[in-house]
Amino acid sequence: MNSRMKRRDFLKLAASLPLGYAVSRLGSELQQKPQNILIVVFDAFSAYNISTYGYERQTTPNISRLLQKAIVYHNHYAGGNFTTPGTASLLTGVLPWTHRAFQPKGEVIDAFTSQNIFSMFPEHYRIAYTHNGWANILLNQMAGHIDELIQREKLLLSAFDSVVPTLFRHDEDIASVSWARAMKTEDDGFAYSLFLSRLSEELQARTLRSLKSVYPRGIPTSGADSGFLLETAMDHLVKRLNAIPKPFMGYFHFLPPHDPYNTHRDFVDAFRSDGYKPIEKPVDLFAKRVFKQLPEKRRQYDEYILYCDREFNRLFEFLESSGVLKDTWLVLTSDHGELNERGISGHSTDAMYEPVVRIPLVIFEPGRTSRLDVHERTSAIDIVSTLASIVTQKTPSWGEGHMIPPFGAPEEMNSRNIYVVRANYNDRLAPLTVASTVLVKESYKFHYYFGYSNVPGDGLVKLFDVQADPEEMTDLAQTKKSTADELLHELRTKLSEVDEPYR
């Protein structure tokens, strides 16, 4: 953890100067024409399950092919491990302990309603959409800086279901959950409503009957709506990109491969007989109930990723054939990952293992003809700073992120700390007393859990060398105690710093 520059570092920096100059020249040439930005987010898209990042299953055949002309980030971390903190960090460029949207369906503090990715591009036509109700809360908070915020319900299947979120716009999430509990019997077989639920389901079934065969596991849904089709959302995106003024800045946050894993029939059972056997991992302390069907869950999740892969390819082909891509920075990423191991399924977990926090980041740079692999550690909070610097030559004054390679210096990345935060039981405007935190530094990933009833007084620490042990199988907290202590001290110092305004 020596922060002094070594001779080798100096030589590396010196060698990178001409490259930096070339990049800055290329940057200034590209600046002459206003450039578009398009951020595509697939929800709960774990880097762990993506073949490009080394997963054994070929879950992303199309994306892998497209990456031959992209910058691929191999060690990219979300800000949190579920929608609200993850999305808020991506949109604001700060960590959850700063934007404070760390509770389910939480909101960022007022400052970030005007300090966010949209506010950094006032000259662009800013357009946004999400299927995800919790992400939509954040977009609504930032609506003052968005020229076109597409209504979430607009791309849902049932117009009937869209009445409730439209009517209860300020409480959309809970109103939709209650509506689903009142009217949907298909999941559980029972609902609050005795008669209208049957009537509503029958009407809906008539509408959706033709789609049932296309989605044998069920229509893609968030669980609180009647469903949506990724194809429809992609088509709408394409239609709007054709119509809106340029330059544009688009943020499109699609729900797949978020559970339930209702993939298209073309991918159902695609991996059923592939012989893949996930690594056996011990059941974690935070596994509230042990899921026995985890390999099955994982397979269905992987098959759902295939659907995202195909739809992303379709979008890419449109962007390429229409010529939009040559003036567009296209970013593919996620808000958080997904976990189907250690007795845990999904991402509603206090655990912070790699599959739930490491996410994909791919940047398709205008004019790029070759692939560049970046192995430096990056964070979701870097995206605002990086895109703003590249496209507008401005950096957000409030941002906590860095310019990432190849646009920023790799050395800077190596010496920095990456944090991931989950604090969904903590009061929003109070010091963090119940949280799961991660500090990634050099090759180490340090987990620190505190305030939970099942965790001992001082908290639980885990230390993994994620470079040598990417599966996080060997906890080094005892064998490398001095490193663990040092990282714990560093993390606690950081926590006390971020808690200061809330004491």
């Binding site: 389910p104 809970i174 029972f190």
Partner: protein, 196 residues
């Protein structure tokens, strides 16, 4: 317009319509409140207690609307009953129908809630029949039809059932009024959540 009002007032009194509404609201509220209480813990665990209250509040609001819808349907249905029937007889007959249908509605959902499956021999029998769905419908009809016809027959044959039903309404009314107060509280919660 005046003719329509006369047509309705000859068949119903305000009190009888109110009784019908209460009896439409009763089973729907019992079921909703049962399930809301069941859901409170997981919603509170996933988000917080205020959201759990919110889910319940919306649930009650939707149930109130459903009660109104069911009441309207049955009130309209009552208009085609024999005109010589008194308002009390008409209402108690409609209440009987509401209760039977609600009981079956609840049973059909309880089967899933309690995870009750058909006996294995019946499943095998249905599977062997080649048309299991038709068989299932026939079994359902065989259970439901007598449960409707027998009480209706009894109701038409004797006036005792009418009296029993009206007594039942009198006894349950205070309870259902409590449910309606809960609906009002639910509405307040919904308003607070949307306008605060």
């Amino acid at each position: 317009m005046a003719q329509s009002i006369t047509f309705v007032s000859r068949r119903y009194t305000t009190r009888s319509l109110w009784s019908l509404f209460l009896m439409c609201a009763f089973p729907l509220h019992v079921w909703t409140i049962t399930l809301v209480l069941r859901d409170v813990s997981w919603v509170a665990e996933r988000t917080n207690v205020w959201d759990a209250i919110g889910v319940g509040a919306y649930g009650l609001l939707f149930t109130f609307i459903e009660s109104c819808a069911v009441f309207l349907v049955f009130a309209l249905l009552g208009l085609i009953l024999p005109s010589k029937w008194t308002a009390d007889k008409r209402i108690s007959f409609l209440i009987l129908l509401v209760m039977i249908l609600s009981i079956w509605g609840i049973i059909s959902q309880l089967l899933f809630l309690w995870n009750i499956n058909l006996p294995p021999f019946l499943i095998q029998l249905l599977a062997r029949s080649g048309r299991p769905l038709v068989g299932l419908y026939l079994i359902s009809l065989a259970l439901v039809v007598p449960s409707v016809i027998l009480p209706v027959f009894q109701f038409i044959r004797s006036s005792r059932m009418e009296k029993v039903l009206l007594d039942f309404v009198d006894r349950l009314s205070p309870l259902v009024m409590t449910y309606l107060v809960l609906d009002a509280a639910g509405l307040i919660v919904v308003l607070i959540r949307n306008f605060s």
